[in-house]
């Protein structure tokens, strides 16, 4: 077996990179989609739930109250554009491209090249069924801030050493 296979502390996921969260508080590569939550520019109580599916690039964007986004008719809206940008900041363009199965051609992948490559395939809108689950995952993510720290030891964390290598 290789070193990676025989190591108890093999690093499987590179750590996320820090980014400013004001515009896009939540991004994730999960459930076969790039998905997340984008804050509305005009109403502080409103957020948009946006997603792009891996492989087909089928896209969806609606508010947390399930109203469709006016911009996402016939192509990616600005919210989806912001989502792609921030995902590249958080995970690195290569990991996002791999997850979404985008071939951005020669040269280094960037948020711009990924967006262009995906838009160029004229993707179809997806149904917005996923929005509720994405929004609930966002709320679950926020709830982590409310959990109390503990000073009892967690020996299991020995399996999770930090790494200086980022995505």
């Amino acid at each position: 077996m290789s070193d990676f296979e025989r190591s108890s502390t093999a690093r499987v996921i590179p750590p996320a990179r820090p980014r400013k969260l004001a515009k896009v508080p939540f991004v994730e590569l999960a459930d076969g989609r790039l998905q997340g939550v984008v804050s509305s520019g005009s109403d502080i109580g409103r957020v948009y739930v946006s997603s792009v599916a891996a492989g087909t690039y089928a896209y969806a964007c609606s508010t947390n109250n399930n109203r469709p986004c006016g911009g996402a008719r016939g192509g990616f809206c600005n919210h989806i554009g912001a989502l792609i940008n921030e995902s590249v900041l958080q995970y690195g363009a290569e990991r996002v491209a791999r997850y979404l199965r985008v071939d951005a051609g020669d040269g280094e992948a960037t948020a711009q090249s990924l967006t262009t490559a995906m838009s160029g395939t004229r993707p179809f809108p997806a149904d917005s069924k996923a929005a509720a689950s994405v929004f609930s995952r966002f709320l679950r993510h926020l709830a982590y801030l409310e959990l109390a720290p503990t000073t009892g030891p967690l020996p299991e964390m020995q399996w999770f050493p930090p790494t200086r290598t980022v995505a």
Partner: protein
Amino acid sequence: MRLDLLTEPVDGLDEALAAVDAFDRALTGGLLRLRPAQAAGLAELADAVAGSPLAACAAEAAEKAAAGAASEDHFLALAAARTALLGSVHDALTARADEATGRTREEAPAPAAAEPQAPNLTAAARSWLGDLARAGWQGIDHDVVSGSAQVVSAMLPDPGLRRLAALLDGFSAELAASCPGASLERIPVRRWADLWARGMLLTLPGAAAAPATETVTGRLLPLGVDVQEHATAAQAQVHAVFEPADGGTPRLVRASVSAPKPDTVLGAGVWQLLRPHMTLLAAAGEGRSMDLTDMPVTAEGDLIWQDDHARTGEPADAFATARVALPTAATPPTAPLDRHPVRLAHPVFLEGYTAELDADDETVTFTLAGHRLAVDTDRVPAAGPLTPKAVAASGACIGLLRWDDGRFFLQPLAVETTVRKKTVAVHAGAWAGGTTDKAGAKAEKAATDAVAVLRERAGRLLRK
């Protein structure tokens, strides 16, 4: 320290690990329908514990699994057999490390009676781990992996279940990022089997209990800070020498603080999250001792930190502690169920070595009396002043002696290095309590802003 002992073979180690690997390969393909090679792997694991009290149940579990009729209890027996084998590996490696450092270890006390804890949640966790075992790493998909989300969410608020919750949360995130398993190019075979077996055992009543057995009063001299983290949890552990006020033998202790976190809270943000819950982080960062009064401690030397039992004391140079107090300190035992090579974290002090930086892959190696020891600088947290270059330019080092992937290595916690003809100490955990360093202050500000945004969003969107 005798580095020569660290590179000599350990009797029986390869045989024990071969049995572990045989089981791990079987688990990779899934235990639902075993191919003959997989069945042989399970039998090899069962044979390896044939001389132990687990013999009968491990043999039965291997047979039932081979026949495609394994229940959760059988999976549990296999996890126990694997854990026992790695426990023996841990013991052999610990004995070797103790010999190399000239340390004596205290006897482990008998484990306390177990109390069942949230049986519904631990049963749900075991059921998810059972699904994983049947699917195997090559068979995982989003449906199987997402089964953990509800269990983890329900367990996280209960500090008594935090160990299992933090483990499963980190584990399931790795699996989710690796779906579908069928198209994985490489699989962390031993790691995932470790996490799986650990999770299985922690679902048993009392497995995660580590009660305080006494309280201690005296002086605490920090050696350094070790950080562990996955996307949604972080723990800081301060390694220290404790000197009892009654003049008893000094002993090595740890103080831990941990918290679940959103994955966008990183680097300095982790220090900010943990800092308010343990004054020791600031004391260690500033190079001060602390005076403890009636602080609870477990038999394994884990202080159950309470700020109102500690007072910041006099300045205490970690290198003076490492040179003077560390060699005389007694070493507490490891709890029976926690015996695994990954737990090995032996505080050590080295000086008089030659440090080498490999120009290609930036790895550092120390050579002392002709013997080499690899240095894992990748484990040094990025939110701190200690860098691989500083380690490579050092003349003395406080670190943790660890073992993984067949070899011992050193995790640096602090080094002494020469800047403009003066000796300066650089600590990995120097920013634990805050920093005036320019780069550090910038990272602190960014982390504060990130948490402020998340709190604002949470305030507006949660509980509506």
